[in-house]
Symmetry: D2
Subunit: 422 residues, 4 copies
């Protein structure tokens, strides 16, 4: 985070990220923006307010002299989880906020944007460096919420009887793609550098760079597809206890899990899939998506393989990683692998479950103050996912990026790539 | 239900009731109409759709030849609890319906209205009688939902941090009123006729008219006020186990109940009250409202009195009942008693808890078919309330009307009037 | 409760009731006496202690000068629900009391018995009347717990994989009995006296005697049998929503109820029944037992009849009631009806569900003090059952006796008798 | 597990371990052995049966020709979690097993012991090696249940009003001990061998031995004491959000955690502690015990330190580890540190929380068959604890031993030792 670009760059970046957020929601109904299907998702309106609140709280209030907050209660409404920032609307009740209405939240965003731009044009010199650091953090934060808006709206829409589409139908439907075979690539292990190297932005949880000793391993050159997942189902994967971790087996039983989150049985033995364009027939060559860590782990055991560790993933990426599709591509659904020579689909496409717990790197230090709550306090019982997804902005992802979810969670765009011992 | 007025009357009545519903919600934000704070309340948008669905299902589909439904899935979305009418959106998930958007629901209402008016202008003679019976039932049904919309929105708004007002502030604030003393009126009991006498509309649960033997009793000539309720609190009413039914005491403990539903401690030992106009200072001469049956029963014991039975209430009304305020008065909050010689505030004002269980009258017969689910199947564990409230349309209430809620419920406008043995 | 017999009678009665309790549990294992399958049942060891605590608390402590309690904490352990008697072991955690061990609880009983007998031989004259009133109440209380011990142990044993028998197999197995046809008996209604007439013991909830106006009705001359219940099942009774109260239908769905509580499918389309002698084949002519009020009510609707009110039951009993089997008969299971001319099986056999809510009689007054918590505070949401069961001591039951349970409860010996409008 | 001692050694070991189990429970009441306070604990009677079942299932049934099981249903009753071994009594309902009575369970143990000894005297040569391997595993398994019996009974007894003692009071009370200062010992890190080296018994989860790269670190030379924990409380440790992981903070709030599991406020600002000898005053120099991983982690942050990783712990032990107290010492409570030059109290005393997730070692392979369910399937969301406790048999623990619990669990004897970056 030490390389801070000069202001004009920041102003453009700020405008672009903020604008993209609003473009993403332009076609939603006002009622759509207040839904909260479950405590772990948030209403779109709340995302819109919270991403403004971040700049409001961490930049404008401390650094913009004479700044007048937009509304005295918005601090309470739009704080997410920052204990150091005071009390807040309980997370499970975010969906009760019909007020402020959407128009007022958009006005709040405009108010914050105007103030940020005014501040950026004439920043107080003694705070300029810190302002720019926080601006950068705030934009990466907003990009995370861009992905969350896709995830959350998809879930909210799936659980409505009308199952509306989040996006209009595409002009040119995605080609089905041919099955490209999966091959294995070997890596020799040894002491590997892991973590962010210090140029460009990174979250604190990617630091410090340090060494990890790895045994030799092999990694699949593409993600697992719907076709392969279907074979797992057909072979009794969901009903064979010995494939599952004990917690995973309890979860499968308690929730009657029989397929990925958005697969929809058509009543005649086939599956459709709910996507941002509504329910459509299952695309067999597309990476399987919206699976839990438990499912990924069970599939890997069934396939006589295993999940990679996050260190294996990162070390392999450094040698042969290739990108897939991102938020800006506009499909918000993973695409089939195309032929290639490296490790295809490593960035974008689907988040790849690893068999690593989300833990601090050696000598990890969180950011000081309230922003220290960004990452460190969540280092418990979550698994690391790597590589970003088709709903991740392309400028947001990098090889050292550590995402984390509980192993039963499925509403993010999570998939898997297999590993094996060499 | 046997006296059916001629069509023109019905057309006007239909238009008036349907229009009032829409007037009531005209100033709400679209987001307001999708909220559902708890499973027992429904979103306003759902009420709007369901009241159209009632005419759609019970009149248009069976009797309007060539009728084409507005949307194939609305039957699923807007059925409430009629098992005989097929599957439906689960009640606790009505708040997940961002779609159809509000505008489409209003269009559905218009579609149904147009069809009903067309049908009424030229009803098939062999069905005319039944159509008019169902029309009347449908309008009383819609009036019930008018009151529910007030109750539900009040609850949804109370649980938002901004605590918005449902109504704009009044031009002329309600006068505080003077305390009018409470006096007791004696009734001699004996064999009393109970139930609807057969003229005008009544629900099936008010029939058949029959005889009940009553001991002599006395009844208070007005409802209990906030001032009197405050004395109950000050005297430890909520912390004295011996005043409470066992189930009530469990409920008080488990929910930390210390005051009526919408009383708001101001942090300095006083209470404000959340009303449809937002939080305002507690009006001491106003009837206490939004109390449970458990609280009403405990208060009565504290006051060395008891709740009346529904039969005592009805017998007393026939001799001396006087009205209070209704939905059309526009305050949607009870008003203080004014001096009078009879039993004041018996109709309108607040629903009055009785110590009667909601049970079938001797020889009770539900309506045939799906409409038989309207009342009879709810005759378990609920208590009867009598008299209507300030949120009840004035044309909807009558002395034989039996409302029913579980004794722990508080979101309706429930209050109490004391009784004693003579 | 005003006729108190002279002491010798009481001493014999006291000894007999206390001894029967201990005889009933003589063959249990110590571990059996600590089980609590669900919060609404209590361990046998707790019943043994609590019935001693009743005499300890309400007679010995107030009236026996110089009395020294057995153990300082037993007051806490064995209070059931008397708020006025202070804090107590939470009901759902009675099953955590491995200590005191059974032997110590039996010693506590002996301690209390010795003190009571000493007190009875030389009662303080000014308290003698009150002591004898409470003694009588305490013995009726202990008889209620005798029935509860059968109910609770039966439930605890049913939910063990080994399904042990509570009683040894009978020397002479009960004869299967012939089907005796069911006939209807008419009653003309009118103003009927209801409630206890004042001679002999009665609980406060049976008083005061008062008048109720009844329409003409008919009552079945015996209870519904397993054979008839089986026909209800075969006819889809449990899957036909229109037969059920709304709360009942929710209960059936949520609990997957498909048969009475202790019916056990044998896997070949037939049912066995778990009894106090273990699982045995279903006796078709025996009254159905362990059904809920919801089931009874649905069955009655299916049979084009209804449940009687408690007033109808009592009025009919006064004219034609006949007894069935009781606790002392030793079978602890109802017996088939034998031919007869009156209303057979009205006392004993099975508790008969009525369609009356458990409410206070007009001018009802609870006992003063803590004993006032015996009945009155439970008058909410429960239904009245009449007539006692095969697990009720014969000296404990009478025609005015009002038992009460929530309509979903089934672990007591509840069955039904049909009524119809005349 | 490859070095198998000759039979006589095994016979003695078998007898000793089996006898110790029975000695441990000799003074319990029969009722004590059936209690189950919470789903995660098991009744003592179940432990007694299950440890016999293990030999029954994995040795006698497969290898003892002509073996006749003791009871056809015991296989169902006493299977713990082995999916491959078929259905079983649901874990939360183990406390419902009043039958078989204790005496019959002891007879089952005797039956199994007799058969095992018979088999060991004349083992089928082709299976001898496997029998001995499983025997060894079965004895280590039984030792784990010895510790569980202490943990579970302690919890069951704590939640009874009488708070009985599990052990009689000691003849010679443990000396309070002097405070011994805590000092730090440095380790230089680098590539360290981790895991079992192959001699003697180890569980599969301790293998294979492999290399881990460590940064330099320091480790405290003793565990944290009650005195130090009290300072954490006094300094607001339990009410300072910034010290806690997010999940930990939620847990503290939801459960109102304010002290270790068995600390008992005396009402005058001091704490007592419930031990196996009942409640006694808090011994300040004794290691704090019965704390969760969340508490340990928060304490470490408060102390400006951190928890060690399991690899640091193991590497440090190899250089300087010293033992504390074990099950055989008979106190079943940790003892204060005595002066010493190494890392005191590393084995025995208290299990030490590490900041390592319980994950498979590289190239880990579970045992084949049902026994493969012993460890591997639990590798999710649990944290590793190292070193054994005062309730661990001394022959059961070793430096590579990996114990694992969820970070909120406290009923085992868990404490902590601090680490810091060098």
């Amino acid at each position: 985070m030490d390389q801070i670009a000069p202001p004009p760059h920041h102003i453009d970046g700020f405008r672009a990220v903020r604008q993209l957020t609003e473009t993403m929601v332009a076609h939603l109904e006002a009622e759509d923006t207040v839904l909260q299907f479950a405590p772990h998702v948030s209403p779109v309106k709340w995302h819109l307010g919270h991403t403004a609140w971040f700049f409001d709280t961490f930049i404008l209030k401390p650094f913009f002299e004479g700044y007048r907050p937009f509304h005295p209660r918005f601090h309470f409404l739009f704080n997410s989880y920052y204990e150091a920032a005071g009390p807040r609307q309980p997370r499970p009740e975010r969906g009760m906020l019909s007020r402020p209405p959407l128009a007022q939240v958009m006005a709040y965003r405009q108010w914050v944007d105007d103030a940020i731009l005014a501040l950026l044009h004439r920043p107080p010199p003694q705070h300029e460096h810190e302002i720019l650091r926080r601006l950068q953090l705030g934009l990466h934060h907003e990009q995370q919420h861009q992905e969350l808006m896709v995830m959350d709206t998809k879930l909210n829409f799936f659980h409505q009887p009308l199952r509306p589409a989040l996006l209009p139908p595409p002009l040119h439907p995605q080609p089905a793609g041919e099955t490209t075979s999966m091959s294995w690539r070997s890596f020799e292990g040894g002491l590997q550098p892991i973590g962010h190297h210090g140029e460009g932005f990174a979250f604190d949880n990617e630091t410090p760079r340090h060494r990890v000793f790895l045994e030799p391993f092999t990694l699949a050159d593409r993600c697992i597809t719907n076709l392969e997942w279907h074979a797992f189902i057909e072979d009794g994967g969901y009903t064979t206890a010995s494939l599952w971790l004990s917690d995973g087996w309890d979860w499968v039983q308690a929730n009657h899990v029989r397929a990925p989150r958005y697969w929809v049985p058509d009543g005649e033995g086939h599956f459709g899939e709910f996507t941002v364009q509504g329910v459509r027939s299952l695309s067999l060559n597309t990476p399987v998506v919206h699976i839990s860590g438990f499912e990924a782990e069970a599939f890997a055991r069934w396939a006589e393989a295993r999940l990679p560790t996050e260190f294996e993933w990162e070390a392999a990426f450094d040698k042969a990683g290739e990108p897939g599709s991102f938020l800006e591509d506009g499909a918000w659904h993973p695409a089939p692998a195309t032929p290639g020579r490296g490790l295809r689909q490593m960035l974008g496409g689907v988040w790849e479950w690893t068999r690593s717990s989300y833990l601090p790197y050696p000598r990890y230090r969180p950011l000081p103050g309230a922003l220290g709550e960004y990452n460190g306090k969540f280092m418990n019982n979550q698994w690391v996912l790597r590589g970003g997804s088709c709903a991740t902005p392309s400028g947001h992802i990098r090889s050292t990026y550590r995402n984390f979810f509980y192993p039963q969670q499925r509403w993010m765009f999570g998939g898997l790539r297999l590993a094996r011992d060499e």
